[in-house]
Symmetry: C2
Subunit: 245 residues, 2 copies
């Protein structure tokens, strides 16, 4: 309600730490099968938490009463694969055949890492890799990852702990040398360029929710709406409830 009324326009990370934060992708129904299959084929990058019925902006399963057209603080809008100015309300772009996909986000496990005493780098980098995703229909492209660094002992704990959050990208896809996955630390998608990894810590890489945006952009579809990075949808779903025991 704070977001819907405009009282909160900032990032969603840490605002409601016990609830699952979601990445959003809105596409026309005609592209929904290809995109759903892309998510199914790439479950670490695109863990599906809800798919709305065409034209219905209410994610009734994980946030009854919410409206995905107004309840995110900032939306990214892509036309023909190019990003336009962000919006704070997408009612004017919503159509009778719009389908919204809500995907798990690693913002959810950051809180769990904190509770487990894992203290990664303050910054979270978003990086391109050279790992191809499994294509589906028009959607394809490289895996995008997040990078945090921590001690090796913490990397072991983080691997076990995030492995239980299968709906939020799950276990890391890589530990250690960034060049093994073609991660380009000097030109991150998000975050400051990294010249060198500090001594005593190990970079840990997770599949990232920007991957489906990247694939949708590569497909140059006429209109795709997504959450603006950092500004996810806060669901009613308890993070610990969907953690695998």
């Amino acid at each position: 309600m704070a977001i819907r009324s405009g009282r909160w326009r900032g990032p969603s990370g840490g605002k409601v730490p016990e609830c699952v934060v979601c990445n959003l992708v809105v596409l026309p129904k005609s592209l929904a099968y290809d995109f759903l299959l892309y998510c199914v084929r790439n479950p670490k990058a695109c863990p599906i938490l809800e798919v709305t019925d065409p034209g219905n902006p209410e994610p009734a399963r994980i946030a009854p009463g919410a409206d995905l057209r107004t309840d995110l603080a900032r939306y990214a809008v892509y036309r023909d694969g190019a990003r336009e100015a962000d919006l704070t309300d997408i009612r004017s772009l919503w159509r009778d055949d719009s389908v919204a996909f809500l995907l798990g986000s690693s913002l959810t496990f950051d809180h769990a890492l904190e509770r487990a005493g894992v203290t990664p780098s303050k910054e979270v980098w978003v990086l391109n890799t050279k790992i191809p995703t499994a294509p589906a229909g028009v959607f394809h492209g490289p895996l995008v990852v997040t990078m945090r660094w921590m001690t090796a002992a913490q990397a072991v704990i983080a691997s076990q702990l995030t492995g239980r959050f299968a709906a939020n990208h799950g276990a890391p896809i890589h530990l250690g040398d960034p060049s093994e996955i073609g991660a380009d630390l000097e030109s991150p998608i998000f975050g400051e360029p990294v010249r060198s990894i500090p001594r005593g810590v190990m970079p840990v890489f997770w599949a990232c929710g920007v991957t489906p945006q990247r694939a949708a952009i590569e497909a140059k579809i006429p209109l795709m709406i997504a959450h603006a990075p950092g500004h996810g949808f806060i669901s009613d779903l308890k993070a610990d409830r969907i953690c695998i025991p």
Copy 2:
């Protein structure tokens, strides 16, 4: 190859215990979105392991070189929701727009239970319940479950162990009193009627791969092909490889 050449026409359980056995559903592309979404919304009953591209009968991700038109020992064929005579080859029914879905099967975790010293009832019953599945498009219907019984101590081990096989129906959906989920023991879909549960054992219920067949039957679609019960597709995927560590 033994199945393709006709040398093996029997059930698939236990034949290649280290590999994942799959339930099969073949539908026309026009119904593929609804069915894929039905699977996504009901992941315990319909864990998706592969979706083939329209017209291509090769499950290239989990069994390269296989042909889903010839490599199952027996196929069930449904027209307008009614089951016809089983086939041992579906090449004559395969179309340019046929999409095959391979879903995890509990035959995979039976072997893991055995290795863990869990000795359930020799028989596995398939039962209707009164638990509704989450509908998607034309697909809807009650959850179908498998029932095994075992000691309470074994039920705890089985709950933990099968919870790790998320792609093969995962943890039980219920333990104990069958009436709580509306499971009808006197008229099973598969197995002998059960008059009473023996003393000292507890019934344990898992979501079952017959659920999507039931939903597809309820949708009365013109043509659906599935595996005949017990005669799943044996993939190359190692069961322990997709088990969550």
